[in-house]
Symmetry: C2
Subunit: 466 residues, 2 copies
């Protein structure tokens, strides 16, 4: 099987290389091109298609960075090993409960404040009747936005105004609205490497070029960042400065300061995603980048999914002033507004100080699991597994010894009843370390499961050393 | 003030004409170019910018179809009269209650089934506890999708399968997901003219070209459509075949059949939006295009906003099989899933037959308002106002006599305490009829308000004839 001929769409403004990329990609996914087979040489193929060599080169490059093909020096381009149509390493929820689940960092439904929330939902309906179910202001229910403004001021030292808050239907929607507002096809977005692939997908679907930059212990590598900023002129830098997903890294204050300088000097925005600042197991709350942002360069995005309940589909953004109009229009075009009912219940939840109570409660539960898992994982150091102690969050990030590939370990663990998350889904496909880590979460596990899971993991790792 | 110099972004794949369009548009909106001022002649400007004439021509064309500039034969291009930054004719909700409101077609909060819905929300939380607030399957809560499949089969004669249903957070999100899944920059979308501008905005924001086609009494003009399909090779045709917004037109069965043929012959999809089929004041339910769709060419999109409550932010789509994978991925990237809690309550609502009860109840209320308004509006025929009798829905669409411009009538009515919706926001900016109609809705009005509003309208229309 070879590549099916492509009809370029001439009335499309989608660049030819992008059309070619999509064409070949879909054939690889649909298994119309065999795995391992060689793609046509650049010049021959360009001639056949009637396009410039550079069009084919760019398409191949994008296929390579997306992991669909690999280049072999002096020999050409080959279709990579089997790419799954589904998310790799995805276990359907109905099967996941047969496993000890270190893979999912979703919060534990057994600790959701469902009864309290139910009361506030009922209170909101009884108070506002039909208006709780009517169309809402695009950027959100104003009393909630005012309450969040106060909360940000008091808890995070972030000083903002209610009209700059936009309520979004979860952080994923926030990413989508940001992308729609400021990113166009061909724009560059710089991301951490490794990073959350759900964000990368959104940027890619806008036709953006993704430029990954490595993480050090103190945050993103500033030298590499500045070099890449100079060359690629990004519109946006996407980061998670506290308990980064997946590495659990926290940015130092110095790194934060220098990032803000760079954003101002090279004229780009920084998207700070903060899913769980409050889950700090140290003595104080870490610092958000937004609280240091005097030049209005930071878009702050916070979800209530990890700390409260993901099914609320609630989160919020702080919008830089110059982006307010575009963000509002994008939200309007996206879904008109977030649910008025849930916004009202959430407002009552905050006003009645339930948020602080809940955070205190879950932090103690998660801290217990965290400390237990930390001790259990220490034993893995005997097998050359290394990791930093996270200062908070729901995960550990383990570096495996060179002879163990994360994907192989995944399958071994799964056969023993344990789910873990291997690192390739977080890394740029070109990174030579992409198969060297695993992410483990204690979010949905009991102490007993943590014990058993760590024992299984230890045995599986040991089995590779024999 | 002239046009500020433009730095073309050379590392962007956004076409130069599109960059130029955005550049000039933003200056017009921000009033950096004076209204009425002449734009530079094409050749001079192209030379100055160092681009081809065609780049400037294309940018000017797009500015013209979007209503920002007008061309004067033999003289050049001029910035149109003041364009508002806000939606034109928009009255903030907090002021709208000072008026009799014929402009809003939002349903009336006083007839929302809030108490019933509250009970089902409580029941869903008590039954499913934390799981009602956990992450959901991307395409929706399966029991709801199964229930909707049965409902579609029994009520609409639409035969589909639960795995082809996607629950969306309102129809606006449906539009967004469809656009993300199948439309790329430069693709053509054909729309009805006039049509719902919230859909046009979504298609435009994907960089699509909008080709409007006129509506006749029986639906879209098929001759004009086929001609434009041949030339523009659309990916999508967006229509509302029953109680079209704003014209209230219903498609004939013959038009529907021929549309399906065209879609198959010229290889495009049809997006059928159906916000209120059930609000039929005749003896039977009209036919949906989807129920006739044997070739899987129709994407059916239904919102629960108009018939139930807009604040639920709930709707669903029937996905053609070939689009299932792309739609699922787009939903995942958009907001992961719709609210699990509201989906559960909605499922209970359907299973307990509350939907049918509610539809019966609101149809009788709206029918009363409809019939009353119909009689009141008949009097306007003395002033050369004409209109068709809608077979259902929440609106009337009135054609004004040639000496009355809809926008002027809007301002006159507003000064007398009545809000109406003038037609320009529904029309392509090039249509010479764009200022000849008004849309009137009885959705939120009492009989008394309908009486008073129609009297005000009559007086205002009469005042133009003096």
């Amino acid at each position: 099987m070879g590549i099916v001929p492509l009809q370029f769409s001439t009335n499309s403004t989608e660049p030819l290389y992008a059309q070619l990329f999509r064409h070949i990609k879909s054939q690889i996914i649909n298994e119309e091109i065999e795995y391992g087979s060689k793609l046509p040489p650049i010049r021959t193929f360009a001639k056949e298609l009637g396009v410039n060599n550079i069009t084919v080169i760019n398409a191949y490059k994008q296929l390579e960075t997306s992991g669909y093909i690999t280049s072999k020096q002096g020999s050409g381009f080959y279709v990579s090993k089997k790419v799954s149509k589904e998310q790799p390493f995805f276990i359907p929820p109905e099967e996941a409960h047969n496993f000890i689940n270190f893979a999912s960092a979703s919060p534990d439904p057994s600790i959701f404040p469902t009864q309290t929330f139910k009361e506030y939902i009922v209170e909101a309906i009884d108070r506002d009747k039909g208006f709780a179910f009517g169309y809402q202001e695009t950027n959100g229910f104003m009393p909630l936005r005012k309450t969040l403004t106060e909360f940000l001021h008091n808890t995070y030292s972030i000083h903002t105004e209610a009209h700059l808050i936009q309520i979004v239907s979860g952080a994923q929607q926030g990413l989508d609205i940001i992308a729609k507002s400021i990113l166009h096809s061909g724009d560059t977005v710089i991301t951490e490497n490794p990073t959350y692939n759900g964000a990368v997908e959104v940027f890619r679907s806008r036709g953006c070029r993704i430029v990954p930059v490595h993480l050090d212990r103190d945050g993103i590598n500033l030298l590499e960042l500045e070099k890449k900023v100079r060359i690629s002129k990004p519109k946006l830098l996407y980061i998670m400065p506290n308990y980064q997903n997946p590495t659990t890294c926290c940015y130092s204050l110095e790194t934060m300061d220098r990032l803000l300088d760079l954003a101002e000097r090279y004229d780009f925005f920084i998207l700070e995603e903060d899913p769980m600042l409050e889950l700090s197991y140290g003595h104080e709350l870490p610092t958000t980048l937004k609280s240091l942002d005097t030049k209005d360069r930071v878009i702050y995005l916070k979800s209530f999914s990890k700390l409260l309940m993901p099914g609320l589909r609630m989160g919020f953004m702080i919008m830089p002033k110059v982006l307010l109009e575009g963000f509002t229009k994008a939200k309007q075009n996206t879904d008109i507004s977030a649910s008025g009912l849930i916004q009202r219940a959430l407002e009552l939840y905050f006003v009645n100080n339930k948020w602080d109570e809940h955070i205190h409660y879950i932090r103690e539960i998660y801290r217990g699991r965290y400390e237990y898992m930390l001790v259990a994982l220490e034993k893995l150091k005997d097998y050359d597994v290394t990791f930093e102690h996270p200062k908070g969050g729901l995960c550990f990030w383990l570096r495996l010894p060179p002879h163990i590939a994360a994907e192989k370990l995944y399958y071994t663990c799964r056969s023993k009843g344990l789910l873990i998350l291997p690192s390739p889904i977080f890394f740029s496909h070109l990174d030579h370390n992409k198969n060297s880590y695993i992410r483990l979460s204690f979010a949905t596990c009991t102490i007993d499961e943590i014990y058993k899971g760590c024992e299984i993991l230890k045995d599986c790792i040991a089995s590779f050393s024999k």
